[in-house]
């Protein structure tokens, strides 16, 4: 009988639906559960409803429903905030970064101690009184907090809010929020106020969201309600809970917390009635008039506008009302109370005024969003009436549409001029104007006067930092509408301001931005470099990393926009200088990626240099470039290619036959390559370039040079390592080496023997190298080279070669089919075949039968294609190889069948009739 409970459910005609659960005091300590409070909801714990919690998550169906709901709503209501409205989230970081302090802060803490009322006499205690506790309760002030401590404290409060909420201590949560918003009435350490505002409104946002979601989830039983619900969808319990929140908030004693907290849960009005929001907003707007401190008031307005824009963006009237109220109370800023405060805190007026900017910007941004021009004009007129207040003017230029501002730029300049110099700094005003003009164009006729007027003021700014902040903005306008002359003047001015005391060192980001803007608008590099001040401007980037960054951006633009190759000495000199800067930044610590990207940019430049028919000039450019860019291998490679290309271009121009002069020139090119290649560290680059340059030399009839290249290639061969690194991974080099040798062999056909060396000097040299090279263990690579050398030798023994180089006599002409030459070739072939056969034998002994079969087959194919099979011995060898390759059944039957068919076809030709005899001896081994 321990747990007998008696519960009373009274249904009484009253506005207080009461559902009371009363439990036997023995079984459960009553706490507040058993109290007779009329508020039915906020203290009763509702078990998490799986349905509603799912809905808060990502249930796809309801998401879909919500999305379509949203779509419908958007169609109905054009007034929703679009993507063109810069959201608050974009602003907050900026504010936090900008408004900081080193002063000591203090925070008032209220102890969270509160006692559950248990005594009968306190039965009637309500939350209302608990709220009073908070106000009168024990509080202590924490002094001497650094800014970071302060931020941490606020974050702690934010955390404890969430904790309180999740542990169902709704009253405590409300207390915390009230405590936080109270901090906003404190303007000591005024420089920090905007940041404080950001931090605390974050907490308020969290609170608003929690309350809204809670009530929303109460309506979601049994079925979730759509996002665009109407009052009829809300059940009584939810309404009662919501009403309770509003009653509680209405009884908060102090003005500022009451205002902020009510604004935070503005959205909840949707649960109560249709017109709630549109009635509350004007009321809260008017309530702000009661805030005496103008800074506190303006931020309260900003918060209200922000919440208003989120919840009901179509209610423009309150936004406007806020702005007009702001204007009406504007004189407060210059009132005695404020001035006294500033004196005590030792804050100067210009600094103080900039504290207003974020809030006024935001209010005006809300007001100006999709507002008709008429309204904006009216706003502007109202501002004017306040004696051209600079602070307002600044915000107007920030927040209003750039097009609107641009169209009236001259008016604005007039107003800026009329402003009082002592208050708001003028360069900020011009900065704001410049920002608008950077995105929208003023009437053409006004542009030059605008620039002149603006620059007249900017150039007078003393502080380099202020100066460059403003100048940077105006560079955009200048570049957009004017020629290099004006831009040059601007650059000259910037240099003049930023050079003294090395002021540029603190302004690299701005200077970089200036450079970026110039590069955006000037793609013609001859114009760009003909600006006298461009290079001096470039010289201001003296920190290496920044300098390289800037050079890179220049080169990127050049590569992207330069269409034609150029020989303009101005461009070449300047860019060579730029590239040299990039090159010189390379050191032992530079990462590969950085080197690659630098090399890519420099290569792009080298490719764009052309002196047309002036080949010698081009070559000397390459000589110079080689000296300049010696640390970047890809650039050296590019230079060798460029020179080779130059030689071939010369040949083309001369129609293939060189004059004495051009012959000397192409030899010079060859010499360039020959002495440049050894400096490369990559062995394959060296090999390929030797071969390529050899081919180019040959094509240009420079026989001894070609010989030298090829000989060099052969002599480098033994150095090829067995593994090379490809994209950071170690790979065997064998495949690359075989590729290279094959390509080398095919070149050798046309290379005539050196008169002073023996027959087939290069071929022998190559084969000797192949023989001596330490191949990988268990590799057939050497034999494969031998097999591929056979076709070359066969081709060499022909009467006329398959291909020749014009004006170069190959061995065919040199020897004229001399029997001794042919015999030499045959001997070489025999040796090679002998070597291959020896190798085949060793394979038979080991586990290499599969490799044996494949090698035998490839030798067979070579003999079939290139050998004279009328020779009985060769014929027999071929048949034996065929049989060997089929002996172990490892060969591909389809290839075999196709080979047989090919032989059959060949045998049809009268001169190859002997093949049909051989065909009879080639048996196809059946797989089974």
């Amino acid at each position: 009988l321990q747990s007998v409970t008696v519960e009373l459910q009274s249904r009484f005609v009253s506005h207080f639906p009461s559902h009371l659960q009363v439990t036997d005091s023995r079984s459960r300590r009553g706490g507040r559960k058993g109290s007779t409070s009329s508020s039915s909801s906020s203290s009763s714990s509702v078990a998490p409803d799986p349905l509603s919690s799912m809905l808060e998550g990502t249930d796809p169906l309801s998401l879909f429903a919500a999305a379509s709901e949203l779509g419908r709503k958007r169609r109905e209501n054009e007034e929703e905030v679009g993507a063109d409205f810069e959201p608050w989230s974009a602003k907050r970081g900026e504010i936090l970064a900008r408004f900081t302090t080193t002063e000591k802060l203090s925070i008032v803490r209220y102890s969270h101690y509160f006692h559950p009322s248990s005594a009968v006499s306190e039965k009637v205690r309500t939350r209302l009184e608990e709220l009073d506790d908070l106000e009168e309760g024990s509080q202590r002030e924490l002094l001497n907090l650094s800014q970071q401590d302060y931020v941490n404290r606020i974050e702690e409060l934010n955390q404890s809010l969430k904790e309180a909420w999740s542990s169902d201590q709704k009253v405590k949560a409300l207390k915390i929020v009230i405590q936080c918003s109270k901090l906003l009435s404190d303007t000591s350490v005024i420089q920090f106020y905007p940041s404080k505002f950001v931090l605390i409104t974050d907490i308020l946002d969290t609170f608003g969201r929690l309350v809204y979601e809670r009530i929303w989830s109460m309506c979601s039983d049994p079925r979730p309600i759509p996002d665009s619900f109407s009052v009829e969808d809300v059940n009584d319990t939810a309404k009662e809970t919501c009403l309770n929140w509003f009653f509680k908030i209405a009884s908060i004693r102090e003005l500022i917390p009451r205002l902020y907290v009510e604004a935070a849960i503005l959205k909840c009005n949707r649960f109560l009635n249709k017109t709630g929001i549109q009635e509350t907003l004007p009321r809260l707007t008017a309530m702000i008039r009661g805030i005496g401190d103008p800074l506190v008031a303006v931020y309260a307005r900003a918060y209200l506008c922000r919440v208003g824009m989120e919840v009901a963006p179509h209610l423009k009237d309150s936004l406007n009302k806020n702005f007009f109220d702001l204007l009406a109370s504007f004189r407060q800023i210059h009132g005695d109370t404020v001035q006294n405060q500033l004196v005590i805190q030792r804050v100067e007026i210009p600094v103080y005024l900039t504290l207003y900017s974020p809030a006024i910007h935001w209010i005006l941004q809300c007001v100006a969003y999709r507002a008709p021009d008429v309204l904006l004009t009216e706003m502007m007129e109202r501002c004017k009436k306040l004696g051209n207040n600079a602070l307002l003017l600044n915000s107007v230029m920030w927040a209003f549409r750039p097009e609107f501002v641009a169209a009236r730029a001259t008016d604005f300049i007039g107003m800026i001029k009329d402003c009082d110099e002592a208050g708001f700094p003028k360069h900020l005003l011009f900065g704001s104007l410049g920002r608008s003009l950077a995105c929208a164009d003023p009437p053409e006729s006004e542009r030059l006067p605008i620039l002149n007027e603006a620059w007249k003021v900017i150039t007078k700014v003393r502080s380099p930092q202020d100066y460059i902040n403003c100048a940077e903005i105006w560079v955009e306008f200048t570049c957009r509408h004017f020629t290099k002359r004006e831009v040059n003047t601007v650059l000259a001015d910037i240099i003049k301001h930023m050079t003294p005391d090395r002021a540029f060192e603190d302004a690299y980001p701005q200077l970089q931005s200036v450079m970026k803007k110039i590069l955006t608008y000037f793609h013609n590099f001859s114009v760009l470099f003909s600006m006298e001040k461009f290079l001096p401007f470039l010289d201001m980037f003296q920190k290496d990393s920044v300098r390289v960054e800037v050079c890179k951006s220049i080169m990127e633009v050049f590569i992207k926009h330069q269409q034609e190759p150029t020989r303009d000495p101005v461009i070449l000199n300047a860019l060579l200088h730029v590239c040299k800067t990039m090159h010189d930044s390379v050191n032992a610590l530079t990462v590969e990626d950085e080197k690659r990207s630098l090399a890519l940019l420099i290569n792009g430049f080298i490719r764009m240099v052309s002196f047309g028919r002036d080949f010698e000039q081009q070559l000397s450019f390459c000589v110079e470039a080689r000296a300049t860019f010696c640390n970047l291998e890809p650039v050296i490679i590019q230079l060798i290619h460029t020179v080779n290309q130059l030689a071939m271009e010369t040949r083309r121009v001369m129609g293939g036959s060189h004059s004495r002069k051009t012959a000397a020139f192409v030899r010079a090119c060859a010499a360039y390559s020959f002495i440049t290649i050894p400096s490369l560290t990559s062995i394959f680059s060296r090999l390929h370039l030797y071969l390529l340059s050899g081919q180019v030399a040959l094509a240009n009839q420079c026989l001894s040079q070609a010989d030298a290249f090829l000989k060099a290639a052969v002599s480098v061969l033994p150095e090829v390592p067995r593994t090379i690194s490809v994209e950071g991974k170690q790979r065997s080099s064998e495949a690359f080496l075989l590729d290279f040798i094959n390509s080398f062999l095919s070149t050798l056909l046309v290379v005539p023997d050196h008169p002073e060396q023996g027959v087939l000097y290069l071929v022998r040299g190559l084969l000797n190298m192949v023989q001596d090279y330490t191949w990988e263990d268990n590799s057939d690579a050497k034999v494969r080279v031998y097999i591929s050398a056979l076709p070359l030798l066969a081709a060499m023994s022909q009467e006329s070669y398959l291909y020749t180089i014009p004006k170069v006599d190959s061995n065919e002409t040199l020897y004229g089919g001399d029997p001794k030459f042919v015999a030499e070739i045959s001997r070489l072939c025999e040796t090679l075949i002998g070597q291959v056969l020896d190798h085949l034998k060793t394979l038979g002994r080991e586990e290499g039968v599969r490799r044996q079969g494949s090698l035998a087959f490839s030798l067979f194919s070579t003999l079939l294609a290139h050998g004279d099979l009328r020779n009985n011995k060769l014929n027999q060898l071929a048949v034996n190889l065929w049989n060997l390759s089929h002996k172990n059944g490892h060969c591909d039957t389809r290839t075999s069948v196709r080979t047989l068919e090919h032989i059959k076809q060949q045998a049809q030709q009268p001169e190859l009739s002997h093949l049909s005899d051989m065909l009879l001896r080639l048996s196809l081994q059946s797989r089974a």
Binding site: L1, Q2, S3, V4, T5, V6, E7, L8, Q9, S10, R11, F12, V13, S14, H15, F16, S18, L20, V22, D24, T36, S38, V124, T126, L128, S185, F246, F247, A250, S251, R253, E254, L255, I256, R258, R283, A286, M287, R289, G290, I291, G292, D293, V296, D325, A328, S329, R331, Q332, G335, D336, T337
Partner: protein, 280 residues
Amino acid sequence: LVEVLAGVVVITSKEAVQHQGISLTMEGLVNLQLSSKSVGVFEAFYNSVKPIQLISSNIEVAKPGKVPGGKTEIPFEFPLQAKGNKMLYETYHGVFVNIQYTLRCDMRRPLLAKDLSKTCEFMLHCQPQKSKVQPTPVDFTITPETLQNVKERTSLPKFVIRGHLDATNCVITQPLTGELVVESSEVAIKSIELQLVRVETCGCAEGYARDATEIQNIQIAEGDVCHGLPIPIYMVFPRLFTCPTLETTNFKVEFEVNVVIVLHDDHLITENFPLKLCRV
């Protein structure tokens, strides 16, 4: 037309419960207490006036017997009929006057088992009055000259504060509204507040005691507000702590609002407005 209080008694138990009858008692009481200020500490202690019973009734919902285990619901209904020539007043919780309605459920149990009892309060709202309330706007101007209870008028700083209340006969569910303009003030203003005050009068054989206590204080202006700009007066009447203005032979519950202006030199200026609350 008599309204009823209806509901269910819910009995939850694991096993069957033996009992000697379950009854419900409904009671409405006005508790009056004399403040020490009016009659002195000791008298206040002894002389608290006898409570006035407005309504009382008792019904038996179950005869002695057994309630089965599990959840048992027994419905009930009470007609809300005032006792004799008494009237039912709205629920109100004040300092010296308390009007409270309770419902108690008793389960008598055999020897050795404790009787079970549960009490809960229920709220009573008057039937809305049919008649429409005519708003009675009140304009006011506060200057040093209009003040009473001033010792040295010459030491007062100069100020002119004007304003109006939209009505002093207020609907209890609607906020108190109005406007206030600080037209001029020599000394900066520190705060402007609205103080809601209840005035409770208890009468008894020895005479009567009248006490004013604060219900809530709502700040409408903080700091040196902009002169010439109207500041809204707005206050929501808290539930439970306010009721329609009540006047009976034994006691009275009335309400007033004070507009309190605190100057920076801590001068306190108060302007009082009696209110008449009603439910429409």
